[in-house]
């Protein structure tokens, strides 16, 4: 077998040389024979003749020789491809239409697959990714943690499924596990402000344990990565930087190791540069600076100094490598025992169930993005698949028409002895060549736009940084798609075209053969298919567009128009925490004085920007369970600036800070939940785990306003004075009298007057912020509308093409009918009726398809359900009108047929 393969491959590669060698070998043979014959007295001429006759037909031996080496197929394929290229050169317009259609369809498929690959399939670029596991705990009651930070969800059984652990629990596992090696942990990636060479910027950073890089088996390409020594208490702050950041900020300077940068106001020296392919363990995030967990509290105000010693502070995600030869089951059992043992050791105060431990596969990184986007990506993949199906049906229809025009050529070839299979192969080769051509074009387009793809899996204004580089899976997918497409659109027309009655064909004219009825039937089925799928895509487009419109017009609870927002971070300019509030207040004063500014305020988070702090809130002295609440740290006049009405009481004022008691405003949702109909003003509330002295008095109730998500109703929210907890990063909100964008210059000047070195980030209108928050929905609406329109266009082309062809064939018949007294209207009706059947059948199939498939997009819709009747009717109307338009042109042409000319045509 291997010798055959080797010989076949060498024949393939050295084809031309082998042919030359064959000829040389035969020349030697003939010469020898001629010599022998001449030696026996024959003349040279006669000897040459005899030798040639004895040898036989060299062409035949050559063909058989090729076949002997398994080369015949290849040889025929080569000539088929050449023939196909000549055919394509002849029918330029048709080729162009087909190639463009395929380029769009295959390009769309490749693009979405690139995304699927990056989010769902690509393994982490580290050695032996299959050994990596992520630890997950499952418990009904999770009182073993006092605070929890990280992702958590509920499973079907109502248990909590979460991924964060406390540091002492992790070290117990790390030090005693025998089935796992390299138990390492890390915090969620976070934004850090970074200054080097006097230039400030916001970058993504991450804090990781000292064995993180060893566990991942990732080495620095320059300098070193972090080690255990960097993760000891009191260790100097060193960081490793991404290759991207090295290039962007340091122009790939080879002496970058040892240089100092300022991260969140504190100095860090650079230890090394990470490889370009490495992005960490979370697809979608790509930290530019990685620091050790031991130094985190020096950089991150929200991290207490005892974060690594408190066993009840669960906030680090854990990965480990399973030792070769160990089973997941054994490793889970061991990890579970060690973690339960660690929990017992610190004896949590609250009631809890010992957690079960599951090891999730970690070979493709953390599952966050995968879990979140498997549904939207599946939907997109399905939609581009449908577009491809429509394109295939469309092209198959076109090829059938073309095959009809080539009927005589094909019949002739079969009559001359070409096998049916041979002719089919040749016709299919043509469509595969077309598909490969279109596929290459589509692939090139996708390659050009691959950097734009991650936006599709972006929610809110956060950036998703995915590795969309080409890999072997994408290439295989595209190649497979091209081949399948070529076969799918070519096989049916080829089977139809070669099903000819040779005897009846020879000597006949083009019109009418025995098989034309069944071929027309095929064309009708193809049209119906396109109509059905187009309707499905149109309904999808309608639903997504309505979702977008609903989101846009959703009542937010505040007035976004006329609002300008931006962020300020004084810590980057070297201000100590004690002076941050001073900077904010001076900036507020300056901005308030700008002409055209109505009011100005500030808050920890921008509204609908994704960021939020959540904690429980309970009534002071009450035993009832605290309510999960969004905490919004705000300055005075916040409600006035945002346009949120105050229902009861008063706003927070600058004077409240001087008083010893803490005051807060709550929203109506929280007031309802905590107090029902009772008067909330003057009541005291408190966060769990806080002392009674930290209780806060309710001084006002604000109307409900959306906070972090446009889709969800306003959550229970508490507005606490921002001065309570100094924040290094605050969002300013400015309400302008007129066009807010026009004020940006004078607002920048006002802030610069406080300190010109304090930079302003994310400076845009609140409307822009909302657009960013719903950009995934916007993109879906645009994309799916695009797919829908493309599908509609293709379906109309299909209807038009099939009908035009049919009219051309039936011209004599139509002429005859008109000669016998049929009116133009009769003719138009006749032709329209021919297309009505397939369109009606397609529409019914499409409605059935919508009923079956539309539910899968329900979770992505907002304010509209998947079985919305008006959307379905609208899509149906668009489809039918377009179909009528496409059918009208050929029927109008038919009605202008001159009876006498038509009758003479044949």
């Amino acid at each position: 077998m291997t010798t055959k393969l080797r010989s076949f491959l060498s024949a393939l590669v050295r084809g031309r040389r082998l042919e030359r060698e064959m000829e040389e070998e035969w020349r030697f043979h003939l010469d020898q024979r001629v010599d022998t014959l001449m030696a026996s007295g024959v003349s040279r001429r006669e000897a040459q003749r005899i030798a040639r006759v004895e040898f036989g037909d060299p062409l035949r031996w050559k063909e058989e020789g090729r076949e002997a080496r398994g080369l015949r197929l290849i040889h025929e394929l080569r000539s088929d491809v050449q023939y196909a290229l000549r055919q394509m050169g002849r029918a330029r317009t048709a080729t162009l239409v087909i190639m463009t259609t395929l380029a769009l369809a295959i390009g769309a498929n490749t693009a979405i697959f690139t995304l699927v690959d990056a989010v769902m399939l690509k393994p982490l670029p580290v050695p032996h990714p299959e050994e990596l596991k992520q630890l997950v705990w499952i418990a009904r009651r999770s009182g073993f943690h006092a605070t929890y930070n990280g992702s958590a969800r509920s499973n079907a059984a109502g248990e909590r499924v979460a991924t964060s652990f406390s540091y002492p629990v992790i070290t117990n596992l790390r030090d005693h596990a025998t089935t796992l090696s390299d138990v390492f942990c890390f915090d969620e990636p976070q934004q850090l402000s970074l200054v080097h060479d006097g230039a400030a910027q916001l970058v993504d950073g991450q804090f990781v344990s000292g064995n993180y890089f060893r566990g991942l088996r990732v080495d620095a390409i320059l300098g070193r990565t972090l080690g255990e020594a960097d993760d000891k208490p009191g260790a100097p702050a060193v960081g490793v930087i991404s290759h991207r950041f090295w290039r962007r900020a340091f122009a790939e300077a080879p002496d970058v190791v040892g240089r100092r940068i300022t991260v969140n106001g504190a100095p860090v020296s650079i230890a090394g540069v990470l490889p370009p392919s490495f992005f960490g363990v979370l697809p979608g995030a790509r930290p530019d600076v990685v620091l050790a967990l031991a130094v985190q509290s020096a950089f991150d105000a929200s991290t207490p100094p005892d974060a690594l010693t408190r066993a009840d502070r669960w906030g680090f995600q854990v990965m480990a490598r399973i030792k070769p030869g160990e089973t997941v089951g054994r490793a889970e059992a061991e990890a579970e025992a060690l973690i339960r043992q660690a929990i017992l050791a610190y004896a949590p105060a609250a009631a809890y169930d010992p957690p079960r431990i599951v090891l999730d596969p970690g070979d493709r990184g953390l599952a966050n993005l995968r879990r979140e986007y498997s549904n939207p990506l599946g939907i997109l993949m399905g939609m581009v698949g449908v577009v491809l199906l429509i394109a295939c049906a469309n092209i198959a229809g076109l090829l059938i028409v073309r095959a009809n025009a080539r009927e005589r050529e094909i019949g002739m070839r079969i009559a001359l002895g070409a096998g049916r299979w041979r002719v089919i192969r040749q016709l299919v080769t043509e469509s595969v060549v077309l598909a490969v051509g279109g596929g290459c074009l589509g692939f090139a387009i996708t390659y050009g736009i691959r950097h734009l793809l991650p936006v599709l899996v972006t929610e809110g204004s956060s950036t998703v940084d995915l590795d969309t580089a080409l890999d072997v899976r994408i290439l295989l997918f595209t190649a497979g798609t091209c081949l399948t497409t070529g076969l799918a659109c070519g096989l049916l027309p080829a089977l139809r075209a070669t099903n000819v009655d040779v005897a009846s064909l020879i000597g006949r004219t083009l019109t009418g053969t025995l098989t034309s009825a069944s071929r027309r039937w095929t064309a009708k089925v193809l049209v119906a298919t396109q109509v059905a799928f187009s309707l499905m895509l149109l309904v999808g487009a309608g639903l997504f567009v309505r979702t977008l419109l609903n989101l846009r017009s959703e009542a937010l609870g505040f007035k976004p128009d006329g609002l300008l927002i931006f962020r300020v971070n004084p810590s980057q300019s070297g201000y100590p925490a004690a002076r941050w509030n001073n900077v904010y207040e001076r900036a507020v004063e300056r901005i308030a004085a700008v002409p055209g500014v109505l009011t100005v305020s500030l808050s920890r988070y921008a509204v609908l920007a994704g960021g939020s702090t959540r904690d429980g809130i309970g009534v002071l002295g009450s035993e009832s369970k605290p309510i999960g609440t969004y905490i919004h740290y705000v300055a005075p006049r916040y409600f006035e600036t945002m346009g949120i009405p105050l229902r009861l009481g008063r706003d927070i004022t600058w004077q409240d800070r001087e008083q010893s008691r803490h005051v807060v405003v709550i929203n109506e949702a929280l007031a309802r939940t905590l107090f029902g109909t009772a008067q909330p003003i003057g009541q005291w509330v408190i966060h769990p785990n806080e002392k009674a002295a930290d209780a806060m008095e309710i001084i006002g109730v604000a109307a409900d306003a959306k906070f972090s998500d446009v889709r969800r109703p306003a959550p229970p929210t508490i507005y606490e004075p921002y001065v309570k907890l100094p924040q290094r990063l605050m969002t300013f909100a400015v309400r302008a009298a007129g066009d807010p964008e026009g004020l940006s210059g004078s607002i920048r000047e006002a802030v610069a007057a406080v300190d010109p070195s304090v930079p302003l980030f994310d400076f845009w209108s609140q409307r822009t912020q909302i657009d960013l928050a719903i950009r995934q929905e916007r993109l879906f609406a645009n994309l799916v509308s695009g797919f829908g329109l493309l599908a509609l266009l293709l379906a109309c082309l299909g209807i038009y093409g099939t009908l035009s062809y049919s009219v051309a064939r039936r011209t004599p018949e139509i002429g005859l009918r008109m000669a016998l007294g049929a009116s133009r209207h009769d003719v138009i009706g006749l032709v329209l009726r021919e297309s009505a059947g397939p369109v009606a059948v397609g529409a019914v199939m499409g409605v059935a398809g919508v009923a079956l498939a539309a539910r899968v997009i329900q979770t992505m819709l907002f304010g509209v359900t998947h079985d919305d009747t008006s959307t379905l009717l609208g899509a149906l109307a668009v489809l039918l009108v377009s179909a009528l338009g496409a059918a009208w042109l050929p029927s109008a042409r038919a009605s202008r047929v001159e009876p006498m000319l038509a009758l003479r045509q044949d």
Partner: protein, 113 residues
């Protein structure tokens, strides 16, 4: 010229293997050797040798190498590989049994039944 016999389907490969087993040969040499060892009784269309040679080479039963002929011209020489030797033994064995059986069958007279 003596009476010649048309070659039985599939026996050309066996003859080529046999011819080459006696020593490496070029294509024309294979033809001469077969004629020689068969006592000029077999009729072979000369060109058909070559597809057969390529087929045997493709199957790994023989291998080829460019060399120099007796009259100092460049020629391709074929020799038997080990699996070719094995195949030749098996084929000879099979052919012997087959021809014995057929001879026996053809020698049958009515009295034998």
């Amino acid at each position: 010229m003596a009476t010649t016999t048309e070659l039985l389907q599939g026996t050309l490969d066996l003859l080529i293997l046999k011819a080459i087993s006696l020593g490496p040969l070029h294509g024309y040499g294979v033809l001469l050797r077969i004629q020689q060892i068969s006592g000029d009784k077999l009729q072979i269309q000369q060109g058909s040798l070559y597809p057969a040679l390529y087929r045997l080479e493709h199957q790994g039963l023989i291998e080829s190498e460019w060399g120099e002929s007796d009259n100092r011209r460049k020629a391709k020489f074929y020799s038997l590989t080990t699996s070719g030797q094995r195949r030749l033994r098996a084929e000879v064995n099979y052919w012997g049994r087959l021809s014995d059986a057929i001879n026996l069958a053809l020698a049958a007279v009515p009295g034998d039944l």
